[in-house]
């Protein structure tokens, strides 16, 4: 029941394979991330993570009592998708460009994340008590997107659709498309992360704009917003 488990460099029984460079916890997360990227979460075993980090299989459980806790720690380091939405939802200016920015940023993050969105979701669903933050983040992003869409409808920029359904469709498109970036299906073209993000935001905005002639303008204004918001926060 020790409360340490944070830095830990010299204390404790020495490892069979030399000693650790830095914090074992961070080292495990780093090695696990690399393996998750290469093979996916389900296909990566605790033995492999242990071997990469230089310990025995059971020793990993001293730092993470369950395999999902590694994923959870990894998730907490990868925040920041919401920031753009939280910054832009209450902002002034055309709603269409703000929505484009939010959707594009979300797609970029989904593609850059070490883990497939659906793999995250699968684990989160099996351990709802530990992954409450995941679901809260998601529903807040959904709420913010719906709010921006509602603003756009009120201002006349966007068609009179149901904002909630439209937000669901927009996020679903991001999630569905990130898959084609991560795991290109045989026989189909491959896409870069930027291809995917632009395709997704373009498609959603084209489906919502009253006239698609406004799309190039929206895209240009969104690029400005992204640059401005990304610069101030990071």
């Amino acid at each position: 029941m020790g409360a340490a488990r944070t830095a830990g460099a010299t204390a404790g029984r020495p490892r069979l394979s030399g000693s650790a460079d830095g914090s074992p916890r961070q080292e495990i997360i780093r090695e696990a991330t690399a393996l998750f990227i290469a093979k996916g979460y389900a296909e990566t075993t605790m033995s492999e993570i242990a071997r990469s980090a230089g310990l025995r299989q059971s020793s990993v459980y001293y730092w993470f009592a369950r395999k999902e806790h590694i994923l959870q720690a990894l998730l907490e380091e990868n925040r920041g998708s919401l920031q753009m939405a939280q910054a832009l939802e209450p902002a002034s200016g055309p709603a269409a460009a703000r929505l484009y920015s939010v959707l594009h940023a979300d797609a970029v993050q989904l593609c850059a994340s070490p883990l497939d969105f659906y793999e995250f979701e699968r684990v989160a669903r099996s351990q709802p008590q530990n992954f409450g933050a995941f679901f809260e983040d998601y529903s807040e992003l959904h709420r913010l997107a719906a709010s921006i869409i509602r603003q756009g409808i009120d201002s006349g920029e966007l068609r009179g659709v149901d904002p909630e359904s439209a937000a669901t469709a927009a996020l679903s498109l991001n999630e569905g498309l990130q898959r084609h970036y991560r795991q290109p299906l045989p026989g189909l073209r491959t896409y870069t992360a930027d291809d995917i993000s632009t395709l997704s935001a373009d498609t959603t905005l084209a489906s919502l704009l009253r006239t698609t002639e406004a799309l190039p303008d929206v895209r240009a204004r969104a690029a400005e917003l992204t640059a401005a918001t990304g610069a101030t926060d990071s």
Copy 2:
């Protein structure tokens, strides 16, 4: 190396728990399907399937040498998504309505399928040699959708987008949305299969149509096509 393994009613060692009703193979598929629907593929064990079908765990391996083979058999019984696309791609008439029909039918099938699309894909990817049909079907559906989109662009109904990317986005939206039907995220609204299918087809067509005012008309014509094509084939 017996070549039987098809009907098999009375031969062989009797089961501990009474005898089978019909073909053991079919019975296993049926029970497994119910379990897959209830718990998903990965969370269903061979022991559970065996118990439901009235045999011991290892006896299932007489009929299916690997767990994935049950899924494969299940997939082969669930064909028929392509039929609409194959019927409508070479058809005459407005491309927009044909595309709407195809996308709507695909979404309905994804929602009605016993297994989540992504779970199928995950298993198919791990056994590419056994699931070649899955990838072939997918890329043919993609090809047909892109072709219809191209026809729509040529005829002036649709905007001048890249047909391949647009088809990828359209199918991705279907796949992403079916997830929200199967596994509603906590805190978000739930949708019926028809909500999802209409939302998906509406969104894609709205993003592609030159003017969204044509959408109600496209939807109406698509309903006619769906009724006609579905009736002749089934």
